[in-house]
């Protein structure tokens, strides 16, 4: 399960960030922000022509001592970042993929809300609860 889930806009500002250990929020912000570099690198690695067939899921962006950072980019260049605990070995690639898929679906729902102003931070309760379900339950 994730310890931090972030949605980042096309212009690289955060639309939504949620992390579990609240006191370390700043650290996760830095982590997620820094991961954007890797995301960009991965996107640009795929050629322009291939951009359409590109898979959304980017895989493991980079590992740190304590965390693993996974990324995913939608076709509209909205980035999803999931930070998971390194010690959590049960988390396979497939689980991460399905988490991203869920995240993406939920994000799409948010975007479909006619009252949502694209570019605003996400405040949807449904989205929030979906994210909480994917997070590590803080004991």
């Amino acid at each position: 399960m994730a310890v931090c889930i972030a949605v980042i806009a096309k212009e690289n500002y955060p639309l939504y960030i949620r992390s579990v250990p609240i006191q370390n929020e700043l650290k996760f912000h830095y982590t997620v922000h820094t991961s954007l570099d890797v995301v960009e690198e991965k996107i640009s690695a795929v050629g322009k022509a291939m951009a359409d067939q590109r898979e959304l899921y980017l895989g493991l962006l980079y590992p740190t001592e304590d965390y693993k950072v996974y990324g995913c980019v939608t076709n509209s260049k909205v980035k999803f970042v999931i930070v998971a605990d390194s010690s959590n070995t049960s988390l396979r690639d497939n689980e991460i993929r399905s988490m991203f898929r869920k995240l993406h679906n939920s994000f799409t729902d948010v975007m479909c809300n006619p009252f949502y102003n694209p570019g605003d931070t996400i405040q949807s309760k449904a989205f929030d609860s979906m994210v909480s379900a994917m997070m590590v339950q803080a004991s």
Binding site: A9, E11, N12, Y13, P14, N24, E25, L26, K27, H29, Y30, H33, T34, S35, L36, D37, V38, E40, E41, S44
Partner: protein
């Protein structure tokens, strides 16, 4: 990236240079001391050789040595550096000084790197350029982007690296740092120099071979000894020196000795010749030895925001460090001031240079060459045997390739040490020699071989060293012969660090490796390597490495800006831990550029916070304040504790005089300004006029109503014309009012400014000593002055100075709010008062206050330290009120661009004193019955020092109240005693005793002008709602007050009525040129709850009786239906109809026809009564005068023609005219026309004429009394209701009929045709002539005697109209109605059956007729048909006139 001045090759070359030791005799030292230098220092600037050297390698091939540098050092036997692989504290200190001394140069060329969407300014100016003002930063960037782009340099890193490499201790596993040669220096002034040489030589030998000293390490056992004879030109005997030198040549050979002549200049020779000082740059660093105690401040995680719990302490600490560094720099300055080489001429410099060259080429290089050859020979001879032996044994026992073994397995053998003369080391020695003389190819192969050997021996330290050097020499070979073996480096680093635990060597290795990788554009590898090298041991080193890594990230092909920023922050944190405040700040500022304004608010806050703290410790309070401001004004997502910490920190840092404060947020546009005193709403039983107050919400509609009223009253005051300068008075300004004009404030009257504060934080705020900040320009309005001149010479006063320490000001009294508390996230308004004492132009600039935070009580983390100061630090600052005016949207230009109009809310003009009125109401009711009359009192009070006059009042409900008419103020006598008892509002007369109620008619003639209140002329000009208030002398002197009676009448409509009064008054001396000197207004709003009382309906119909008086055909019956519709909630027991009065210009009530049995006409709940009256035309000839006729039904007569009653009647007329204006005007016009022009008008004329004859224009006033039980007491209420009868036969009601719903009007697409010429309808035409039959009601006739009974009947025809009418009377006509078809019922008219008559206007004509009856019975005589048409309307056919009521006659047969 960190671009170095040197190339990588140069760097590595310079890092590994042949080292030469120096041994000096005492005297020689004395000579060099004259220059403030020792011998090695003296030589240092000349140690780089400018010419090429040549040497031959083992294969006798010539090798070119270019750009060689040698290192000359004094022999230090003290073991200064432990070889433990960690820096000693002294070394650390040195390094840190080196770094802190190397700061980015202020004003250097800024470097901008464009990376993706980011423009990064990684410049030396970064501290200045990246202060957290985005716009500024932007500007700097654009300005810079035009210039050439440079890559960033990090001189502090290079300085660090240089001194790091210099301080590398010599170790056993490598020989590069070992001394190759030794210079033996002896002065020529020595008695026996040769002996001295011998002594020194022995000393050297002893040092090298005695084994006592481990420290200076020597390369080769037989170290090259070079004998230098130092000769002081200024004092020594040159010839003796030459001879000694000759002697030496004999002894040591010409290549082993040198005569160096220096000090050609005496120290006292003066400083006329400017000699360059090449030493300073080499020596400054060492003079920095003075210790800086490096406080390791906080060992917190870099990404953790320090909560400010320990803040005061840590800040003090920071400050201490800051001061210390300052003293250090001062010291450096002093050290740089001392000059070196004072006794050396340029010639001496040349000699020194030549000496080094000579030594290198003649002594050193040949020595090296010789040694290489020797070593080579040794190796070659040994090779065959040892190699094969080793390899065989290894193959036998090892069973595998050794190098492939993982590092971990080799750990235990790391301690292995070879003997210095061990054969394994010889090859390494040779490699090092080759390396030093730039023979990299050979060096590489040697290193490679050595590496294999060491690895097979599992001597890991040696192996690592060999690996490192192999990699370096492979790199330095250049060309493409051999690819750079990066893995060698990695392995070496890993081995050094993990196996050998030698951090210093690992670091050195990493530095080289990173440089090499960078030069090959392998930035990501370099970054990884550098980051890997960071450790907890050395903050400084980690910081520098992280910074370099960050620079690597940004230099990648796809620049990784965010990684750059992140690592910059990490570096900044480590810098700050290492005490390098300026570097830390610089790092954070650079990182800030990436995070700035991208929505990563937590990170941004963190950086800003750190920048703020660092700036503060570096004595840059402005930057600190800016940074903190940024945190506090943002929409912070921080927690409450964090915000509290920020705030406290900010306040602590804050030390600038009266600066702009960021907190709390002010909603400027919500600022409201109120001019005038705060009003007391009630004073005892007096009720003050509500006027305007800040507590009221602004209502656009209401404002329009008030403005309309004011306009009317101003128009009334100015004889019906609204002056062009008129501008509605606004007492309370807000965002919705029209703020284009400068508002007016009167001197000595307060100005209250309401400011809306919002606390955006989750912590409470305390503002204290809150007051307004203003600017004031004195103007004297009493003297007329041209406007333009005044601006120039006016004195402007401001209270900004006083605001720091508030005190009373003579010109404007500024109210101070001592404390203003704001809970977390609260929005609160503060009301601040100013009292201007002189006239002029005031501008309210803003607010000044002390800002402090309160320690939240629930916060358990607060320690005793911060509690000692009960309230957190507070700071005095200001915040400006800048109100943006409304967006202009008038012209096209304004529509397309965004421009805003001015808002002058806060710029009041202080005018000379003006009168000030206060109005109080006494006995003012809140609830009334509809139509109820109540008497109240109103008190006008002039509270100013200026007389007041021209008091007027305008109201939305002018028929609600009256002040009475001044003309009839004298009471009529006698008053009935009861009127006093009941406190009746009416004037009453006792009814003459004995008179029948309802029969007494008192008639009074009254001119409308008397009750017009505003004079008759006002009525026509729309000033209907305005009434003048009858003051005693017309003016109110200062301080005077008058009480006036005020009569109120409950509105006709039930419900709650909002009634607005606008009192208008002006100063006594009118006509001043000042535009605002005109008038002032006072507003009052009352709410009256009206409940239902009576409903009166009245109809009029023609009386068919004969007119009593000749020539007057006016007689009418008026039926008045009175219904009690009160819903008894008010406790009304019953209503009595006290009196019915009429008022009309033409009619008057004559008498009551059916006086009720009981005297008063009582009506209990839901009861209904009917009253019938006869009305006659009044005899008055005056057209303008109204006739009031009172028909008292009780025992006292109310004089309806006097004040309250008649007043309300006329007011009612005025207001009703507004909703039936057409008829009134038309009637009047028609009237005059038909009189003037006479007959001959068009069709429309007819209409008027015809209508006229049906018009009544009679107003009935029903005066009632209601008996109300109130608190077990019976109270009599009085009231009056009006019914206006207009047309005969049409019912009129006291309640205004609801207008027909107009919503469902058909949509018309075609323009409506002008209505066709209105022809009078048949119905109207049928009222032209009134007919009456006069006959005896019963008649006895003896049909026996005479079968025909003839009865004379007189038909009276009266022309109701004012025109000539032709009438045809037809008697033949038989009624076709069924009831007249009785068999017997017929009678016949005798005589002429048709008459044609012409009736003049209002003529009454009698026509004698005879009717013949054959039988006795009851007959209806009303059969004559009358047709009429207007005489002049030939084309029109006659219309049948309405027949009168059945005229029955009884014929009795006798």
């Amino acid at each position: 990236m960190a671009q170095c001045v040197q190339s990588v090759q140069e760097l590595i070359q310079d890092s590994f240079v042949p080292k030469v030791a120096v041994l000096c005799s005492e005297d020689a030292q004395k000579i060099t001391r004259k220059n403030n230098l020792n011998f090695s220092e003296l030589l240092r600037p000349f140690c780089r050789l400018t010419s090429e050297g040549h040497m031959r390698d083992s294969n006798n091939q010539v090798q070119v040595v270019k750009n060689l540098r040698i290192s000359v050092n004094n022999v230090v036997t003290r073991p200064s550096v432990p070889t433990s692989g960690v820096h000693s504290p002294a070394q650390r200190r040195l390094l840190s000084e080196v770094v802190s001394a190397s700061q980015p140069a202020e004003g250097g060329v800024a470097n901008v790197i464009t990376a993706g969407d980011y423009d990064l300014n990684i410049s030396d100016r970064s501290v200045k350029a990246s202060v957290p003002w985005y716009s500024d930063w932007r500007d700097t960037l654009t300005e810079l982007s035009t210039s050439k782009h440079y890559t960033a340099t990090t001189p502090w890193f290079e300085a660090y690296r240089e001194s790091f490499l210099q301080s590398m201790p010599a170790s056993d596993h490598e020989f590069l740092n070992h001394y190759l040669a030794c210079l033996l220096v002896v002065s020529s002034s020595e008695a026996v120099p040769v002996e001295q040489f011998l002594k020194l030589s022995q000393e050297q030998h002893m040092i090298q071979h005695n084994g006592e000293y481990t420290n200076p390490k020597w390369f080769i056992p037989n170290t090259l000894k070079y004998y230098v004879l130092l000769h002081d030109m200024s004092q020594g005997d040159e010839q003796r020196a030459d001879s000694v030198y000759e002697d030496m040549k004999q002894r040591y050979g010409s290549q082993g000795c040198y005569l160096l002549k220096i000090n050609s200049r005496t120290a006292a020779a003066g400083t006329d010749e400017q000699i360059p000082d090449p030493w300073s740059q080499y020596l400054n660093k060492s003079s920095l030895q003075n210790g800086v105690s490096v406080n390791s401040l906080d060992n917190t995680h870099p990404l953790q925001l320090e909560t400010a719990i320990d803040m005061p302490g840590s800040l003090d600490c920071l400050r201490a460090v800051a001061t210390e560094t300052k003293t250090t720099t001062v010291y450096t300055g002093v050290a740089a001031g001392t000059s070196h080489g004072a006794c050396l001429t340029l010639n001496d410099h040349n000699r020194l240079r030549l000496f080094i060259q000579e030594f290198t080429f003649r002594g050193l290089l040949p020595h090296i060459e010789k040694n290489i050859r020797q070593l080579n020979d040794q190796l070659v001879s040994r090779k065959g045997l040892s190699r094969s032996l080793f390899s065989v044994t290894k193959k036998l026992f090892g069973g595998g390739k050794v190098p492939e073994k993982s590092i971990a397995e080799l750990k235990n053998t790391s301690g292995l040490l070879y003997h210095p003369e061990a054969p394994e080391l010889q090859i390494r020695k040779m490699a090092d020699l080759c390396f030093l003389v730039q023979h990299y190819e050979l060096a590489y192969s040697c290193y490679h071989t050595a590496k294999k050997d060491f690895l097979s021996d599992q001597a890991m330290l040696y192996a690592a060293g060999a690996l490192e050097m192999a990699a370096v020499s492979a790199f330095l070979q250049g060309g493409a012969q051999r690819p750079y073996p990066a893995h060698y480096m990695d392995t070496a680093i890993q081995t050094y660090r993990d196996v050998c635990k030698n951090k210093v060597l690992a670091e050195r290795c990493a530095l080289f490796s990173a440089e090499v990788l960078k030069s090959q554009a392998k930035y990501s590898d370099a970054a990884t390597l550098l980051i890997k090298m960071t450790s907890e041991d050395s903050d400084l080193c980690s910081a520098l490495l992280l910074e370099q890594a960050a620079h690597c990230f940004i230099n990648m092909r796809n620049p990784m800006v965010r990684k750059f920023a992140f690592h910059m922050i990490l570096a900044g944190h480590r810098f700050s831990k290492a005490g390098q405040k300026r570097h830390a700040l610089r790092c954070y500022c650079q990182a800030m550029q990436v995070y700035k304004g991208k929505g990563w608010s937590l990170a941004e806050d963190h950086i800003n916070f750190t920048i703020g703290r660092q700036s503060f410790t570096l004595r840059q309070p402005e930057n600190a304040v800016l940074a903190f401001r940024h945190i506090l004004t943002n929409d912070s997502q921080q927690t409450a504790t964090q915000q509290g910490a920020f705030l406290r920190e900010y306040l602590y840092v804050y030390r600038v005089a009266l600066p702009q404060l960021p907190l709390p947020c002010i909603n400027s546009s919500a600022t409201r300004v109120y001019f005038g005193h705060e009003r007391r709403l009630a004073e005892g039983e007096k009720q003050a006029a509500t006027h305007v107050s800040l507590d009221q919400e602004f209502d656009q509609d209401l404002a329009a109503v008030w403005q309309d009223l004011e306009e009317q009253v101003v128009a009334a005051a100015n004889r019906g014309v609204v002056p062009s300068t008129f501008y509605p008075t606004q007492c309370c300004l807000n965002s919705q009012t029209d703020n284009l004009h400068f508002p007016l404030a009167v001197v000595e009257e307060p100005i209250i400014v309401e400011v809306a504060f919002r606390n955006p934080l989750k912590v409470p705020l305390v503002l204290s000593d809150l007051s307004l900040l203003w600017k004031f320009t004195l103007k004297d309005f009493s003297r007329p002055q041209p406007q333009d001149v005044m601006v120039g010479d006016a004195v402007t006063i401001t209270n900004e100075k006083e605001a720091i320490a508030p005190r009373k000001h003579g010109i404007i009294t500024t109210e101070v709010i001592p404390e203003f508390f704001m809970s977390p996230e609260e929005t609160r308004v503060a009301r601040l008062k100013l009292l201007p004492r002189q006239t002029g132009q005031l501008t309210i600039l803003g607010l000044v206050y002390n800002l402090a935070s309160t320690p939240s009580t629930g916060d358990s983390t607060i320690n005793s330290n911060s509690f000692s100061q009960n309230q957190g630090p507070s700071v005095r600052g200001r915040q400006d009120l800048e109100i943006q005016g409304p967006r202009l949207n008038q012209t096209k230009e304004e529509k397309t661009s965004v421009s805003h109009g001015p808002d002058r809310r806060l710029d009041p003009t202080i005018t000379p004193p003006m009168p000030l009125l206060e109005v109080f109401f006494l006995q003012f009711p809140t609830a009334l019955l509809c139509g109820e009359i109540r008497k109240a009192y109103v008190e006008f009070c002039n509270v100013s020092h200026v007389p007041l006059c021209g008091l007027r009042v305008a109201s939305t409900h002018p028929d609600f109240f009256t002040f009475g008419s001044s003309s009839l103020a004298t009471p009529l006598t006698p008053l009935s005693p009861t009127s006093f008892e009941n406190c009746s509002a009416y004037k009453t007369l006792a009814t003459p005793p004995g008179a029948t109620p309802g029969s007494v008619t008192a008639v009074t003639l009254v001119s409308a002008a008397d009750f017009g209140s505003g004079g008759g002329g006002v009525f026509g000009t729309g000033g209907k709602r305005v009434a003048e208030i009858p003051l005693g002398e017309g003016t109110l002197t200062p301080g005077e007050s008058t009480q006036l009676p005020l009569w109120l009448r409950g509105p006709d409509q039930e419900g709650v009525h909002e009634i607005n009064f606008l009192f208008y008054y002006e100063g006594a001396e009118k006509g001043g040129k000042i535009r605002w000197g005109d008038h002032r207004v006072l507003r009052h709003t009352v709410f009256i709850c009206a409940s239902r009382s009576l409903s009166v309906r009245a109809t009029a119909c023609r009386s068919n009786t004969l007119p009593e008086e000749e020539g007057r055909n006016g007689s009418m019956l008026v039926f008045v239906d009175v219904e009690n519709i009160n819903t008894s909630e008010a406790g009304v027991r019953e209503f009595h109809i006290a009196q019915v009065s009429s008022s009309s210009k033409q009619w008057r009530l004559h008498k009551c026809i059916n006086p009720a049995e009981n005297k008063d006409c009582k009506l209990t709940t839901r009861e209904r009564g009917k009253l019938c009256f006869r009305a006659t035309r009044s005899t008055s000839k005056s057209l303008e005068k109204y006739t009031f006729a009172d028909l008292s039904l009780g025992n006292e007569q109310i004089i309806s023609s006097t004040t309250p009653c008649a007043d309300f009647f006329f007011r009612r007329c005025q207001s009703s005219e507004s909703w039936r204006p057409l008829i009134a005007v038309e009637t009047q016009g028609r009237h005059s026309r038909s009189q003037g022009a006479g007959p001959g008008g068009g069709a429309e004329d007819i209409t008027g004429v015809v209508r006229k004859c049906n018009e009544v224009d009679l107003d009935i006033i029903v005066l009632w009394k209601a008996f109300v039980v109130e608190d077990n007491k019976q109270v009599i209420l009085e009231g009056q209701l009006h019914v206006a009868l207009q047309t005969i036969g049409k019912e009129a009601c006291s309640l205004r009929q609801k207008e027909e719903a107009q919503e469902m009007v058909l949509l018309k697409f075609k323009p409506e045709l002008p209505p066709p010429m209105t022809r009078p309808s048949m119905e109207q035409l049928s009222h032209l002539i009134k007919t009456n039959l006069h006959y005896p009601e019963s008649y006895s006739h003896s049909f026996v005697q005479k079968s025909l009974c003839m009865i004379p009947v007189i038909l009276t025809l009266s022309n109701c109209s004012l025109a000539q009418v032709d009438a045809i009377i037809d008697l033949r006509h038989k009624t076709t109605s069924p009831e007249s078809l009785e068999v017997h019922g017929s009678f016949t008219w005798l005589g002429k059956t048709q008459y044609k008559l012409q009736l003049r206007a209002q003529e009454v004509m009698r026509l004698p007729l005879r009717a013949g009856f054959l039988h006795a019975g009851v007959y209806n005589l009303g059969t004559p048909r009358v047709f009429a048409k207007l005489a002049d309307q030939g084309a029109m056919c006659e219309t049948s006139q309405q027949t009168a009521t059945p005229a029955l006659i009884i014929i009795n047969s006798t």
